[in-house]
């Protein structure tokens, strides 16, 4: 499985998809002009990860999502991305998602709650704390 590392830009998050280490993270801003172009390769990688794992060790997968701002098209793509993660979880890969949001950011909090309802195969942990200290 190819790991993916993309440094953050002012409008796209840092991506650390360490499939070997079973830890995936997204951190930073997300408002690219073309969110589909940014997220599609990540979703494809996740979709490929599922069959690759079904004969494997099946060790647990952990995701950290800490986005300070995501625009509407990123929101839609995040939904698709987590749908792919949910499929991995439903296929038997124990998956935990840590969702970090600013305590005053009710939009991110609600979206995290929304995701947890839609994707029951994933174990959700919502964290009302600044992600800067959390992931670094």
């Amino acid at each position: 499985m190819n790991n993916i590392r993309i440094p953050a830009t002012s409008c796209t998050p840092e991506v650390e998809f360490d499939f070997d280490g079973r830890t995936l993270s997204l951190a930073g801003e997300s408002y690219p002009e073309n969110a589909a172009a940014f997220y599609r390769p990540l979703i494809t990688a996740l979709e490929n990860f599922v069959p690759a794992q079904s004969q494997g060790t099946g060790s647990p997968l952990t995701l950290h999502v800490a986005l300070s701002y995501f625009n509407s098209s990123s929101t839609k793509m995040l939904f698709s991305l987590l749908s792919a993660v949910n499929n991995a979880a439903a296929a038997g890969i124990a998956t935990t998602l840590h969702w970090y949001y600013d305590p005053e950011d009710d939009i991110s909090e609600e979206f995290g709650q929304e995701l947890s309802l839609d994707f029951p195969a994933i174990a959700f942990h919502l964290h009302a704390e600044s992600y800067h200290d959390e992931l670094r």
Binding site: S10, C11, Y69, N71, S72, S73, F79, E104, I107, D118
Partner: protein
């Protein structure tokens, strides 16, 4: 050139404390990001509520990305897969409330669809907007949409009053201006 309007306009009282940002010209992701940084800094120093800061930043980004995606202006610039489009955005403060406005040109066939959609959103309660937003999140994007088809719903969600909009046909042109206003 004519520097006078500048000094009698945005640089003189009472305008200097009510207009936070005004831009008319080409929009690209790069200048959107640069303007976004200015707005972030402005809000950090002028607005205590981080919830309001987020709503305003979100409104600004959704509006200018709408211009970047949908403005139908012959002045559009294209380079490889990068396009720049013409429009206008203003962030101001009116009676203690933030007002974000955008203007761009659109084709006649877009008016019907936009008017219908915006009229529908205007009649919705905050809860209905949220529910429609959630449903759209799970739906496939319509073919005409270059974004996620939830941009206008996102604007409505973050606004404290129904979105206001007008269309005006441009003289000697088939295009119309589309003016959109959100009060946070």
């Amino acid at each position: 050139m004519t520097s006078e309007p500048v000094f009698t306009g945005p640089f003189s009282a009472p305008h200097y404390d009510v207009v936070a940002l005004q831009y008319t010209g080409f929009f690209s992701q790069n200048n959107i990001t640069a303007m976004g940084e200015v707005i972030r800094l402005y809000l950090e120093q002028h607005e205590a509520s981080s919830s309001t800061r987020r709503k305003l930043f979100s409104t600004f980004i959704e509006m200018v990305q709408n211009i970047l995606r949908y403005s139908s202006d012959s002045r559009a610039l294209a380079r490889a897969d990068d396009e720049m489009r013409f429009g206008s955005v203003t962030l101001s403060i009116d009676n203690g409330r933030y007002v974000c406005e955008s203007t761009n040109l659109i084709r006649p066939e877009d008016i019907v669809r936009l008017r219908e959609y915006l009229e529908t959103i205007r009649t919705m309660s905050a809860d209905e907007i949220k529910l429609t937003y959630k449903a759209s999140l799970r739906a496939e994007s319509p073919v005409w949409s270059k974004g996620a088809n939830i941009g206008l719903l996102t604007l409505a969600r973050d606004a404290s009053e129904p979105l206001e909009f007008t269309f005006h046909q441009v003289e000697a042109s088939e295009l119309s201006t589309f003016h959109l206003k959100a009060i946070i």
